[in-house]
């Protein structure tokens, strides 16, 4: 861990592009979604194919699309840096920031795509081409190159691990499922104003508590909603970004956190995972902290992850997040407002906009800091704190500021 942060405010997001999220985009391909977002992001930045000399990306469900395919499909004539990364989105963004800062490239295209293949939903299973797309994908821990390859129901790799730690959180702190429910309800209330969100109907606490149990104690509403869609970003120097048409958003501090052993069933405790490490490292790197932010985007692939973020990042103490949310609940708007001011996951998060491994959170933060969030706009928003990723293999943190 280091407090060094020489790239502070030196690299910026100069373009954003979206391929809209949907429960089922139908007869399309992951590459088509990705390219739609990529072209939109490059155009948003006022740039062309010849300006892109760095490419980084990857998605979760299929293992993602290789940069070589993107370079080919976009006809990028001169690329000097590329890498393929797993999600969440900070794997992409940290790589891009480092590449731009060190001069490996001048303008990086960052992409993230989600494409439901056979096995992920009934509608995906109904599409023979999506079933074909699932062939040969590694299962469970095999995807991490570990020797033991089991997945659910025999392994806690992935979703079951979050459910298991959610259960231990309830037992250790005497918390209740209502505490998880506030995360889900907040997201849903925010999603109502986001046309890209796939779930926009209001959610009540009774509705949450009555949700179909999936991985106890986590129900349907505790887990992100599978979607098709893609996001892309253009990352370049702050200096260059200031000459481009869209308002730049500066990467103030960025970090990732992982601790041994990261496996869900082996983690020493929630206080010892990558999430609090990322929080500590981000704190050491950032001049801006909890009292300075206008927007908070705790990652919410599972409600327990977002709930625990309030504790790991120091809004409250261990086990106090439920009470903190109750104290900071805006009953009129039916959502969280920290100190009556700072909204949380204004786009609806993974639980209501759609699960995209933090890509949606990043797009929303950039959109808000540009002042382009329409009905959702937080007036005068200047600083956003994001915590993409979960506890174990992929905790991450980011502070963005308006340029």
């Amino acid at each position: 861990m280091t407090g060094r942060n020489p790239a502070k405010d030196q690299v910026a997001i100069a373009g954003v592009g979206l391929s809209p999220y949907a429960r089922d985009r139908g007869a399309t391909t992951e590459l088509a979604l990705l390219l739609e977002a990529a072209v939109a992001a490059i155009r948003d930045a006022g740039l062309t194919a010849a300006d892109i000399d760095g490419v980084v990306g990857g998605g979760l469900l299929t293992g993602g699309i290789d940069p070589a395919t993107v370079v080919s499909a976009l006809g990028l004539p001169a690329v000097t840096w590329w890498t393929k990364v797993p999600p969440p989105i900070m794997n992409h963004l940290v790589a891009a920031v480092n590449a731009v800062w060190t001069g490996a490239c001048e303008v990086a295209l960052v992409y993230h795509s989600v494409y439901r293949v056979g096995g992920f939903s009934r509608s995906a299973n109904a599409d023979p081409f999506r079933r074909r797309a699932a062939l040969g994908l590694p299962d469970g821990r095999a995807a991490t190159g570990d020797g033991h390859t089991d997945a659910e129901p025999w392994s806690m790799h992935g979703s079951a691990g979050y459910a298991a730690w959610a259960g231990r959180y309830l037992a250790e702190f005497g918390a209740s499922r209502e505490d998880f429910g506030r995360i889900a309800i907040n997201d849903r209330s925010n999603a109502a104003a986001n046309p890209n969100a796939v779930l926009r109907e209001p959610l009540t606490m009774a509705g949450y508590l009555g949700g179909r149990m999936v991985r106890e104690p986590l129900c349907l509403y505790d887990m992100d909603v599978p979607v098709d869609g893609a996001d892309a970003f253009v990352v370049t120097t702050a200096e260059r970004a200031r000459d481009l048409p869209s308002p730049p958003v500066l990467i103030h501090a960025a970090t990732m956190g992982m601790t041994a052993p990261p496996q869900e069933h082996l983690a020493a405790g929630l206080e010892a995972t990558g999430q609090p490490l990322a929080a500590r490292d981000l704190r050491a790197k950032s001049d801006l902290w909890l009292d300075d932010i206008d927007l908070f985007f705790p990652y919410d692939g599972f409600t327990i992850v977002a709930l625990r973020c309030f504790e790991s990042y120091g809004f409250c103490g261990p086990g106090e997040a439920g009470a903190f949310l109750a104290d900071n609940w805006d009953a009129v708007e039916n959502r969280i407002k920290i100190k009556g001011r700072v909204p949380v996951n204004t786009h609806g998060g993974s639980l209501s906009e759609g699960g995209s491994q933090g890509a949606g959170h990043l797009r929303e933060a950039v959109t808000q800091l540009r002042g382009q969030a329409g009905r959702r706009q937080v007036p005068g928003a200047q600083v956003a704190l994001l915590t993409p990723g979960g506890f174990f293999f992929n905790a991450q943190g980011l502070v963005l500021r308006a340029g």
Partner: protein, 149 residues
């Protein structure tokens, strides 16, 4: 008696067996639950690793554990891939083994009423059948039966 490579490959056709983890699965075939043990520092580890995660010695070897432990993490799966009964929730636990703090394995829990199954329950190793091969599971430790009917 240790089974041959051919036998372990045949008995676990869907596991991504390799030249290291095959020893774990060969253990299962003779009803032994193995963990890695470092001869240099004495520390246990799971899953099997080529070097000791604590001291980086290569003097690591698979060794059977006692099978005693406690439920450290617990979830009940209500849906998932075919092969088990999800009715009422299929228990999936992380069992902290008695050998060492933090030494854990993932397993289901059997022979235990739902209202008894909770974090902290003392359990012991037993064996179930999974796709025609022995698979480790845990059940409430028998010594408890008299005190917690």
């Amino acid at each position: 008696m240790t089974s041959s490579d051919a036998e372990v490959l045949e008995r676990f056709p869907s596991v991504r067996l390799d030249h290291l983890n095959k020893r774990y699965y060969q253990g299962l075939l003779r009803h032994e639950l193995l963990a890695g043990r470092c001869r240099a520092c004495g520390t246990w580890h799971t899953p099997l690793r080529p070097i000791c995660p604590s001291c980086w010695s290569t003097e690591v070897t698979p060794a059977p554990v006692s099978g005693r432990g406690t439920v450290h993490l617990l979830t009940f799966l209500h849906q998932g891939p075919p092969g088990v009964d999800y009715q009422g929730g299929f228990p999936l636990a992380a069992i902290e083994l008695a050998e060492q703090s933090g030494l854990r394995v993932e397993a289901t829990v059997v022979d235990c009423p739902r209202d008894r199954l909770r974090i902290g329950l003392e359990v012991e190793l037993t064996w179930i059948d999974r796709d025609g091969a022995p698979w480790p599971a845990f059940r409430p430790r028998r010594a408890q039966h008299g005190t917690q009917p």
